[in-house]
């Protein structure tokens, strides 16, 4: 009976999905529980920050600059229609610190550092390095996963901040240097419009949440990857897809709570 077979298949998939969600939650909680060593031996976390944060700098800085330049160009064209070119600085800054900085930096972080983390841990598993650690009485969650998790969580807001800063610089170059918007208006409007608590800190909070989501997904996918070439490549793809979706969904939820009515 093909209908019965299909119902069975759906049932199996649903059970698998629930089981995997439970496993992922347990994995995340275990990571938090075994995080002590990441702070006691902070050098482990710093080392991972180099690989996840510092190595992502180029793509973040270049992307931030060009996103800011495009914002400057598009923003100027729109504001000119209403005779409000002087508000360009506030438009560029608010767009970046509230939305584009955290969201785009997180998407780039997921593609660059998240996929690398998944592939690295997946390959460690495939080559029995994780098993070797277990047999040596070294907890791989504490030694491998937790330092990477905290490195990602710490790096993400710093990268988002740099993305926004370079974006503002890109907007300045296009708006003030190339188009000729008044420099004083550009900076003073920005200073007046951007509120540290409401805009910048909420943007930082968003990037921390994205950092937690992206890093947790990347590490879980790597740890759960089947120990084959196909398994690791599939896990890497899932990391990018799931992280991107998580970032966009979380962004909507956080924006609804943070900026509703402002």
């Amino acid at each position: 009976m093909p209908v019965l077979k299909n119902i069975k298949a759906i049932g199996h998939r649903s059970v698998d999905a629930v089981w995997r969600l439970g496993y992922a939650t347990r994995f995340f909680l275990m990571t938090l529980v075994y995080s002590g060593a990441s702070f006691r031996r902070f050098s482990l976390t710093v080392r991972e920050m180099f690989f996840t944060g510092v190595m992502s700098l180029i793509i973040i800085l270049v992307a931030g600059t060009f996103v800011g330049m495009v914002l400057g160009l598009q923003g100027y064209e729109t504001l000119k229609r209403y005779g409000s070119e002087s508000a360009l600085g506030s438009l560029v800054a608010l767009s970046l610190v509230r939305e584009l900085g955290p969201v785009l930096a997180a998407l780039l972080f997921a593609s660059r550092a998240g996929s690398a983390m998944t592939a690295e841990i997946g390959l460690m598993k495939a080559t029995e390095q994780i098993d070797a650690m277990e047999i040596m009485a070294v907890n791989p969650i504490a030694r491998v996963v937790a330092p990477r998790f905290w490195a990602g969580v710490i790096s993400m807001p710093l990268l988002a901040a740099l993305f926004s800063a370079l974006g503002v610089f890109g907007g300045y170059v296009v708006g003030v240097v190339l188009i000729g918007v008044d420099e004083g208006s550009f900076w003073s409007q920005m200073q007046a419009a951007v509120d540290f608590q409401h805009d910048i800190m909420n943007g930082v909070l968003k990037s921390v949440v994205f950092g937690v989501a992206v890093t947790a997904i990347s590490l879980f996918e790597g740890y759960d990857a089947p120990p084959t070439a196909e398994g690791v490549s599939g896990a890497t793809t899932r990391t990018v897809v799931e992280s991107s979706l998580a970032i966009l969904i979380l962004d909507f939820i956080l924006t609804a709570f943070m900026f509703r009515g402002s």
Binding site: E120, L123, T127, E128, A132, I135, A137, V138, R143
Partner: protein, 296 residues
């Protein structure tokens, strides 16, 4: 030879051997001197049985091989001894403790006394040879870095690889990687060393070197070593005792000489690599001729 004399001789060897009148050529190790004991160990993946009533004894200071075809359950036995798997029935005892009844802390405390050499070394690819060998010392001891340095150099010298400490695992040949992994395995002088297919994929020279190293290190450390392998010729040169496993059960056991002289058809076919024997070449699945619509 009188039974008493044999038993006394065996005690002198430290293995606690016992004369088995039923098996005139075989010695059976008794459990009083055992470091590792498996008693009636059964294990199944879902409903598929993998181990069926395994009884094994590994006395202190001995080098013992578990042999058999690929997929016969050898590595599963090793995974039970290392506490990775729990038997569905039976008991795995190490140094008097039932390993599958230990909590995580207890299991880790037990594993600190063990070392395991994985099939392809499982070296940490993001660390140098030095850091690989120093890994356990840094994780489990508070030794100062200068003492760790001296210990690492001693271990590398023991496996003949002094001078490779700054290389990355990707810069090593298969045989060298296996020897570095061996140095890492013995880093904390374990009482029990497990070897999972230590000879797989090695050239003849590396194979002999690794085999001799395993024997010499076992003697030097006074450790108990268990080798899971299907490399008959090399392992029979170095081991004290062999268990033959087929389809999840022990089908033969004895010293290297006993195994070489065994009349058991399976053992003979395996040891001499014969085509004909009880081990079939074809996967047992239907009639090939029927599939091709050939009428005989």
């Amino acid at each position: 030879m009188p039974k008493v004399l044999i038993a006394a001789g065996c005690d002198l060897l430290g293995g606690g051997l016992e004369w088995r009148p039923g098996k005139s050529r075989y010695f059976k190790y008794v459990s009083s001197q055992a470091l590792v004991e498996l008693r009636d160990v059964n294990f199944a993946y879902d409903s598929r049985p993998v181990l069926k009533g395994i009884n094994m004894t590994f006395p202190k200071g001995r080098l013992i091989a578990i042999m058999g075809l690929s997929g016969c359950g050898k590595t599963t036995i090793l995974r039970h001894i290392s506490g990775v798997l729990k038997p569905t029935r039976g008991q795995v005892k190490i140094d008097g403790q039932i390993i599958h009844e230990l909590d995580r802390e207890g299991l880790y405390a037990m594993r600190r006394k063990m070392g395991m050499l994985f099939q392809f070394g499982a070296l940490f690819t993001d660390m140098t040879v030095y850091d690989n060998v120093a890994f356990q010392m840094r994780e489990h001891t508070d030794l100062p870095e200068n003492i760790i340095h001296d210990l690492v150099m001693m271990k590398l010298h023991a496996v003949g690889l002094f001078g490779t400490q700054d290389l990355m695992p990707t810069e090593l040949s298969g045989g060298m990687a296996r020897r570095v992994a061996l140095a890492r395995t013995i880093a904390l002088d374990p009482m029990l060393i497990l070897y999972d297919e230590p000879f797989a994929g090695l050239d003849p020279i590396s194979l002999t070197v690794v085999g001799q190293l395993i024997r010499r290190l076992n003697n030097a450390l006074g450790a108990t070593s268990i080798i899971v392998t299907h490399d008959v010729q090399e392992s029979l040169k170095i081991v004290d005792y062999v268990y033959f496993v087929s389809d999840g059960a022990i089908i033969a056991e004895g010293t290297a000489e006993d195994i070489k002289a065994s009349g058991e058809a399976f053992v003979r076919q395996f040891v001499h690599g014969e085509m004909d024997g009880p081990i079939p070449f074809h996967y047992p699945d239907g009639d090939y001729r029927q599939d091709l619509n050939v009428r005989v």
